[in-house]
Amino acid sequence: MPLTRRQLVLDGLRVSLLAPLALRARPVPAPEAGERVLVVLQLTGGNDGLNTVVPHRQDAYYRLRPTLALQRSKLHALDDDHGLHPALGALLPVREAGRLTVVHGVGYPDPDRSHFRSLEVWHGADPRGTPRTGWLGRMADRIAERSGGMPALCVDDGELPLALVGERVFAPALPDESSLALAVLPGLAGERDGALTVADGATGDLAFLRAAARASYDAAARLEQALARGTAADYPDSPLARRLRLIARLVTGGFDTRLFHLTLGGFDTHAHQAAAHAALLETLARALAAFEADLAEGGAEGRVLTLVHGEFGRRAAENGSRGTDHGAAAPVLLLGGPGTGGPRGTAPDLDALVDGDVPYTTDFRALYAAIEHDWMGLERTLPIEPFPLR
């Protein structure tokens, strides 16, 4: 009989009660596959890849973007041909540490320019079908089968993204630190602990609720401990930074969650893009830099891989409103993980656009396949050759 979601939730709660409190006390450099963490940060709206990783040697770039092109002298050099947007300066230390990887031209065949549909493609990893589960949810199912726990968390207050929908595992949403902040009353905790461990032979839902309540109070206590941990990392004041800080604290505080999903919105820059896009990238870079520093301080930098992607890039040519419309492929950022440094994949050739769009040179599913197998240590399920992470 297949495991039911209910059993898994119950088993997961049992397991998470037994989970070690101090994973970070273990040696860091060579994490076991079972300790590795994936953070997926979605740039919702479709990030302008050409103004994120700028191909400044290509004349076509300046031709296509008469008002939006970024001057070569202002860019942060990535290699001879590419520079990062000026607002991404906060990521330079991460790059110098060899922990920022740019993968050029990531997309999929027959790109769809609908936000909804393209997100569905990225989340479901099934460009032709109508997926009902997501790639993270399907991994969470398999992690739960193997080791229980709370394998996936949605660090957002919106709807659960399709990416996190599995057949069996229910990925909880934990939008902020306060969502595990416990209201206390004198005398309550003592009686509560007694009532949750009363030996009356309860089974079924009552036993489940008691285990769930114990695990939740335990999680709240662990979060409190994690929050109490002093940190040198100086996070900027943004919702994204607060969510990344929460993830860093969960990871370094011994939570068993392996998959995190969060979003940064506002990238649908159809008009007057320059200032808005720069502000978004600065928010992104500063939050990610603080996150990497925090993980390093907690000794966890070797076991967290962060994937930054949007549902599509934007058109190569700017539109008539000093903005950009929905496009196709775009670079993906990888932070941490095995680490490589330099850019990877084949950079787009702006003289060989397809329907005015940057065609993909790396299928996003090849990245997923590498993450699934090489990073998370799971059996390969995607029918595509993995794109080596290093």
Binding site: R5, R6, V9, L10, M150, E159, L160, F170, P172, A173, L174, S179, L180, A181, L182, A183, V184, L185, P186, G187, L188, E191, R192, G194, A195, L196, V198, D200, D205, L206, F208, L209, R210, A212, A213, A215, S216, Y217, A219, A220
Partner: protein, 414 residues
């Protein structure tokens, strides 16, 4: 007499405080202390009749136009929460929520509070009547036509979204139809759309060619397709399952499904008449049905605040329900809320705990732990009673004692 027949005859067990509280929880959203006393005195039949009444305070309907003008989903959520907590029409609000979970439509995509309110009123108006009318109504409901893309389902460019879900989720369930039925039903529904906020049938977009749906052949339109679906034997069982899971217990037995489907058909699809049989049956009051499922957030909050008489703004309650995983008008998908144990995970349990501690703080001056235990857990589990007694020995311990009762897992079994 067979076990099956016995299950449907009127309950003969004691009409005591736990039995009355069970009926008021399941058929409504719990009771105030006064309502519970009244029910105990009045007996099962009178209490059941009371549950069917509609005495919703008129100001709740009076406020709706101004509220919709604000185009705020949060205000609409608060409006429904206020109706639920007011308790004027317990069973009607209960069924509105049951149907919202079945015909799950989310504002997330519809993005129009007037359409969401319109659908909610349809569920309320038709929810205790003829299920066939409800299904026909929901198929033409403008929010549904947006939600499941019915309005872009046109001749030559079929959109199967609604056709698939009506077969899979709303009326039959997997295994009773195939992909061909989905495709052909989609063609039958083509041409149904919206104009402004109203339903419109556009004959030029309707595919009137011959179709085969569930083994029948003809030039079916949407009305005919729905009638074919309703005529399928799995449909009455599907509705019976929804009612049994909401009112009795998860995973109903074959006998229970057959029995209640038979009752539904014998009553000519009348949901109210079917519930009159179900809610006074031995099955409903059987030990297997008591505390047989985990309370949904709205149930948990409404039952607690009604028992405490706490005057919490409905907007706050609606917001708390969202934090606990049940944002009204925003079910996570067309499948509705997963329910059961999926309601509970670390973040959600802590949200429950915090909401109930806050309710306890607000109610404490006028209530104590013993009263609340008797009202919300009339079974008075000995371990909980002993803990309340210990807490009562401490000075000014009422908030902690009330909070203890409300955060005890026993209370979260509905």
């Amino acid at each position: 007499m067979s076990a099956t027949l016995r299950a449907w005859r009127p309950a003969l067990g004691a009409w005591d405080r736990p039995a009355a509280a069970h009926l008021l929880r399941r058929a409504g959203f719990g009771a105030s202390p006064e309502e519970l006393e009244q029910a105990l005195g009045a007996g099962l039949d009178a209490t059941l009749e009371r549950l069917f009444e509609d005495r919703t305070p008129p100001e709740l309907d009076g406020s709706i136009q101004a509220l919709l003008a604000a185009e705020s989903l949060e205000l609409l959520q608060a409006w429904w929460m206020a109706r639920i907590v007011a308790g004027g029409a317990p069973l009607r609000e209960r069924m509105t929520l049951v149907w919202h979970d079945l015909f799950a439509t989310s504002h997330e995509k519809v993005q129009d509070v007037r359409l969401m309110h319109g659908q909610n009123e349809l569920l309320r108006r038709a929810g205790l009547g003829d299920f066939r009318l409800l299904l026909h109504g929901i198929a033409r409901d403008p929010a549904m036509l947006v939600w499941l893309d019915g309005r872009s389902n046109r001749k030559g460019h079929p959109n199967e979204n609604f056709a698939r879900e009506v077969l899979e989720l709303f009326a039959l369930g997997p295994g009773h139809y195939d992909e061909r039925d989905v495709q052909e039903a989609a063609r039958a529904f083509s041409g149904w759309g919206t104009e402004g906020r109203s339903f419109v049938h556009a004959p030029e977009h309707h595919d009137d060619g011959p179709k085969t749906i569930l083994g029948h052949q003809g030039r079916f339109d949407g009305v005919a397709a729905l009638d074919l679906i309703l005529a399928h034997p799995a449909c009455a069982r599907h509705v019976a399952r929804v009612l049994l899971e909401a009112f009795v217990a998860p995973m109903p037995t074959e006998e229970e499904l057959e029995g209640l489907a038979g009752t539904l058909l014998a009553s000519d699809w009348d949901v109210g008449r079917t519930l009159r049989v179900l809610l006074r049956s031995e099955l409903f009051f059987a030990p297997r049905a008591r505390r047989a499922r985990i309370a949904a957030p709205v149930e948990c909050l409404a039952a607690a605040s009604r028992a405490l008489g706490a005057r919490v703004p409905p907007r706050t309650l609606a917001r708390r329900a969202s934090a606990m995983g049940q944002a009204l008008f925003r079910p996570p998908s067309v499948k509705g809320w997963e329910g059961g144990r999926a309601w509970i995970h670390a973040g959600h349990w802590i949200a429950r705990h915090n909401a109930l501690v806050e309710l306890a703080r607000q109610a404490a001056p006028s209530r104590n732990g013993f009263e609340v235990l008797r009202d919300v857990l009339p079974e008075e589990p000995p371990a909980l009673r002993a803990a309340v007694e210990r807490l009562a020995r401490e000075p000014s311990s009422d908030p902690a004692a009330i909070a203890f009762v409300l955060t005890a897992p026993e209370f979260h079994l509905y």
